[in-house]
């Protein structure tokens, strides 16, 4: 993944991209099964079983959890994928 050629690009992006990222939020619902939500987090985002379980429990107990952070377009792609799995996901600007 890391090549010398990619370094200047990354630096350039750091200086020109807006510093405020966006967040993908998944909300609790009474229908989706816990086992299913863990599997979606694990297989779609590549999160470990532990991290996926922690996020699922946060959604369940706190009503929602931020499951990914990054550029708005990426968060929208993730939101569409979550909607495809039947999860209730929204996109929001990260707090300043």
């Amino acid at each position: 993944m890391s090549t010398p050629a990619s370094v200047p690009v990354a630096e350039e992006e750091l200086t020109s991209a807006p510093l405020v990222p966006w967040e993908l939020v998944v909300w609790d619902d009474p229908v989706n099964l816990m086992s299913y939500v863990v599997r979606v987090f694990r297989t779609y985002f590549g999160y470990s079983q532990e991290k996926a379980t922690r996020l699922m429990l946060a959604v369940h107990h706190d009503g929602h959890a931020i499951v990914a952070t990054g550029p708005r377009e990426t968060m929208e792609v993730h939101a569409q994928a979550m909607h495809g799995f039947g999860l209730w996901a929204t996109v929001q600007r990260a707090p300043q």
Binding site: P30, N32, L33, S35, R39, A79, H83, G84, T90
Partner: protein, 161 residues
């Protein structure tokens, strides 16, 4: 994606029932896709609850794709289940079980379809809280059964790797 095919054991009566639900779901997705349908809207939630304009833009660019993908998933599930309508359609002992084989690249489509049908049922039944329904209420039989079957499938998929 999982490594090996999954083998889901279903009683013939379950297979027929599931096929019936999948057919209803296909009809919903293949129909006019009423923008006011609560079940469909649960499958395509609003990504920007505080920004109507951004939400409308998002809906324009994703809603049809989302439902087209669901339709493709559901048609694929239907193909795997069609024996329950065909060769097993006249079976006398409907409690006998049959094994449904789900190929690794179809597993996510199955999971998405079963959970989506459950979400539509929940929307029709007005399920808003986890403890909101009476287990004795017969209308929830299908909903609870589908949850049990979805959980079975998640376990099988997790075990397959």
């Amino acid at each position: 994606m999982t490594a090996a095919p999954l083998h889901l054991s279903l009683a013939i009566i379950e297979g027929r029932h599931l096929l019936g639900l999948v057919d209803e779901f296909i009809a919903l997705l293949d129909g006019p896709r009423d923008p006011a349908d609560g079940g469909l809207n649960r499958l395509a939630p609003d990504p920007y609850p505080d920004d109507a304009e951004a939400s409308a833009e998002y809906r324009r660019s994703t809603r049809d794709d989302l439902f087209d993908q669901r339709l493709a998933d559901a048609l694929d599930v239907r193909t795997t289940l069609e024996d329950f309508d065909g060769t097993l359609g006249d079976a006398q002992n409907v409690m006998l079980s049959r094994t449904v084989t789900i190929q690794p690249d179809r597993v996510n489509g199955w999971l998405r379809t079963l959970s989506a049908i459950r979400l539509v049922l929940a929307s029709r039944l007005g399920v808003e809280r986890e403890d909101a329904h009476d287990p004795e209420d017969p209308r929830f039989g299908t909903y609870d059964w589908l949850g049990y079957r979805l959980d079975t499938l998640v376990t099988l998929a997790d075990d397959a790797g």
